[in-house]
Symmetry: D2
Subunit: 356 residues, 4 copies
């Protein structure tokens, strides 16, 4: 077991961006991990973190310990002490850098899209597909890596998959139509210009719908030892929109179940869902992965995004759908559960399973 | 024909509210109608409009002519001179008041929900179901009214039905799933408290989903002389949400067509759609009822709501849907096309057809 | 001393409003006070709090203990067990109700404006004018009350006075010009309609400028045993504005000092300010009443309002003023420090001084 | 006189930015000017405007005539046909480019800050200091230019100076303290990240306070033939803030008059102010340069910014100031009156005076 006097040294790649800052925030006082390295653009050249970036997160200041850390290049030799890196790198550069770390023996937990659909790379949410880590040994063997890469899903796929898993398990799901109302932090920083979104809603987020439609199948699918990842046999259609909220993605879904179920059974499936990972009491796991609210107008972005310190997905408004079996609403915190918090939970799960 | 020196005297019921103010704004300088009466709560007791209410619409001041008009009770005997009333009354009181005016020989054009689903009441959008005015004679006969009631649809149903009509006509439609992102003005004034919506999205609007699911069928259905209104044979499922925009309802739809069609054919059906009413060149009709934009991120609430002075419905992002035939996005101005402007257009159509 | 097993039973008047809800939130788990009674409109007639109101505060749910409490009338005989009431009543009714409680032997800590300027009523901020509680005995004697009334200041006066006090003490102040940018929660709930403030700023808040201009003088003035309250000899001019922020009032001030001081001396006066009340380590007192930030663009409403759990006033941008001695910026949380939290701190101070 | 068949050919420098787009919008259908050239970064290399930039302004589409224009480098030889250029260039590069055009015989009307305080460069608002164009001949002579440079003021200085001028003229002004609430469009595009301003107010805009404090003196000062520009003998102190509004800068001012005046006299001075330029009926001049509103809560950013097509400055809330003579509120549209519209009006004034 990890103990306080022998914490695992970790680094953050892409430490100056919005998700990078969330990593730094969430790693403060972590019982298992010690943040020892911050990686970003080469140009920063070892200058202290506080000098090269402004802290963007509201409700907290830049942690003092991070402020002093030198910002180094995103290369394994620039942070030789780390056993784990959390990657908040942009997709344009994440692919090769993450491979370099895995080759160098580092466990990489990545938010970037690059390796998510890799045939031997887990796209992991411990409450959903904890057993997908079985792909790691094959990944290491096939690629000759001593480290490995585990990815977490897109911020809009994450709450959807968490909501669907208990229903898939209990009743089977064949069709999902989801429409998202995503917050501005999902676009990073500086991200969305204020002139584009104040008093506006934008019905397009580049690449987002494709991610939701494909990542969901992989996460709800199976890892079969002989065969690799097998997609779940369902069809997903996504409409992705940007609205003027700071944090939290609100999503409306209509789903077709394979077996009939009453509303009470659906809600019970959510409320009684206790995945294997929950029993492990991981440090970042919320008390409840899923919370169903009975008020007629919940979840709401502002009021529910911080449930479980941003790690709980809130559900509500289950009702029959004239076209499919049911409709409902869900909400997840996009930079916590849907990004940095999700990655850290993945690392905790790997620690728990002895992979680190 | 109506001429400037013999305009039809009209009144507005519910003149102090948000839709009431839009009526007043849009009736300024109208070539056929002369605003002569303003009705609201009895308590105002004949005091000038400017004294009893504050003007809420941005971009304009209270019209000087309206400012001086006395605010009278919403009773036919309080405004004996009007031939037409536009009703922006709340649902709690609209039903009986509108009947009283119709009985008194006045043509009522109403935004209220009360009579929309009436078996002999047109739920009218001239570009969609112009022929539904055929119900008016029967309404008058059955009820013994010398006036009549024509309603316009809910502000979120309106753009949906306008988008669907050309496709229904050309290819048939069997299923529609629509998710709305509706602006705050849809809730009237004072309506939504700012503390409820700033940095928030709310996945619930009371009664709205039911209206979209039922009104659409009536509007896309037929008036059959022997039988009355016959619903269109399609199924609609709606998710309705409130977001922090001032005006304009943005909607994402997935639809199942009955006959296959290419994207080009769909867009052509929209772009080439010229309904009978268009030929009549009604004063409030926009040059184009439907506008398809080819940019990947349009329509947007802020940027497209004022198209055609708020009377054009803007479409975009047509693409295949994994679950149905196609998905697309549409936008309509909720207090213009979806409320006051729509009502005025309905009245113009009735004038054009000799009903006034 | 107050101990856990002998907490003081307290009630909240005006419990359903926004400030009332803050009181309930902040009293949860309070070491000295036990919330036992909730008062609001008579019409609620003893029904449980959860039934008569919706919880408005984001980031928390209605506390379970409050949810079950019956909502009773705001009369002393309806809550005979309380020793203290916190009043979040609207000004229209607060005056007489608060008097009734004070007559009945209850200590009233009020946010309402009614008694603030009373000649024998402390307008109290413990860090500013802790000794003003000396007025209480006279208040009781003159009025024949066994209880008493202590008020806290308007939400925009509060941060101003806290910023000024150390400078007044060290250098003297003769003139203050302050312009506020106040958040929507200051208007209560439902308060400001969203249609009035989205994409808008409003340069008027009824009665607010007058309050800032008068309350400041009283709070920075002295209680003289023979004479009563003597206003501080300074002149204040206020411009009060509403902007689209949820919580936190941002204020720009220009001040004239009576003695010259360098910027370093000013900042030192703020940073080294340790009022008597601070030594008492009151439960709701923040570690620092005043925090000066050196970043060029701070304080900011969003990022600094929660400093010290909303009880710290954040200062910044001290620089010379071409017309007066200096200009600077300050920020205070309006519903915490400027309302409910301030009242609770006042009660704590009275407990500490043996008045309860 | 300029006639339609002999319009003056003009270009826009910095055509892709937010102010550049306003220039293009406002020049559509201009009776005197014909937009024939668009200048921006060299890299665009002659490609059509529609290909190199997205249109940002709401309420309008990219004008078709501009869409086709090639985007050329900001050099005189790249647009030899123009007689006038409107410069929306950023300060980092505007200085030298504008000089090059003036040397080449072009009349430059600039929004950039670089030459505003030049000893022989008019900082012009026709309604305020129309006679400052007398500096142009000296500018040409001293610098050996056949063209010239005329600048317009910062977007927050502009409404202030327009409000002050009639009072300065009638009563004299010695002191001005102004606090601004500026909209996001003032920061250009992409400008302010949405994550920085949603639910926030920021009390800092780089360089803004200095500009307001110095530009005001120059504009309210005099051009003396022997001596050049002589600053007005007043002192200005500015606090500049950013708030979440799209367009329009709201400003609160306290002013010290040199001679006593009643509120009625002040308002009369504003309402009766008819500057020389007004008589010229310039195409972009609003019917009224100044509009005083009597409602207690006006001007408001949203509701008053479009007065006079964005060219009118709206005033309100005149009341005594405890520290100075009076306080009041003003509002000006920052990208129209405070930027592109102001520049075009300056050019019109120069045409009117025979300088073009």
């Amino acid at each position: 077991m990890v103990t306080r006097d022998k914490k695992i040294p970790v680094g953050v790649l892409g430490a100056t961006g919005m998700v990078g800052q969330r990593f730094i925030e969430l790693l403060q006082g972590h019982p298992w991990f010690e943040l020892v390295a911050l990686g970003a653009s080469d140009k920063h050249n070892g200058r202290p973190y506080a000098e090269v970036t402004g802290w963007r997160l509201s409700g907290s200041d830049m942690p003092a310990s991070a402020a002093k850390l030198p910002v180094v290049a995103c290369r394994p030799d620039a942070m030789p002490q780390v056993k784990v890196v959390f990657s908040a790198l942009p997709g344009e550069i994440a692919g090769e850098i993450e491979v370099a770390f895995a080759q160098a023996g580092v466990a990489v937990f990545s938010n970037a899209k690059n390796h998510r659909m890799g045939a031997d790379v887990p796209l992991l949410i411990p409450e959903v597909n904890a057993d997908h880590i079985a792909a790691i040994p094959r990944q290491q063997k096939q690629r000759g890596w001593s480290g490995f890469i585990v990815t977490n899903a897109n911020c809009s796929s994450t709450p959807l998959v968490m909501a669907l898993k208990p229903l898939q398990q209990a009743f089977g799901i064949s069709k999902v139509l989801v429409t998202t109302m995503q917050s501005i932090s999902g676009a990073g920083y500086p991200g969305l210009p204020s002139y584009d979104i104040l008093d506006n809603a934008i019905p397009y987020i580049g690449g987002e719908e494709e991610k939701v439609e494909s990542e969901t199948l992989k996460m709800l699918g199976e890892w079969q030892e002989g065969q690799g990842f097998v997609d779940a046999p369902l069809v997903v259609s996504a409409h992705c929109n940007r609205v003027a909220t700071r944090e939290g993605h609100l999503e409306c879904a209509s789903i077709q179940l394979e077996r009939q179920a009453s509303p009470e059974e659906i809600i019970a499936a959510w409320e009684n869902y206790v995945p294997e990972s929950q029993a492990a009491r991981l440090p970042s796991a919320p008390e409840r992965a899923l919370l169903y609210r009975r008020e007629i107008d919940r979840p709401q972005t502002l009021r529910d995004r911080d449930a479980g310190n941003g790690m709980t997905v809130t559900l509500g408004r289950l009702r029959p759908c004239p076209l499919f079996s049911y409709k409902f609403v869900m909400l997840g915190h996009n930079t916590v559960r849907g990004a940095a918090g999700g990655s850290i939970l993945n690392a905790e799960w790997c620690v728990n399973k002895g992979l680190l």
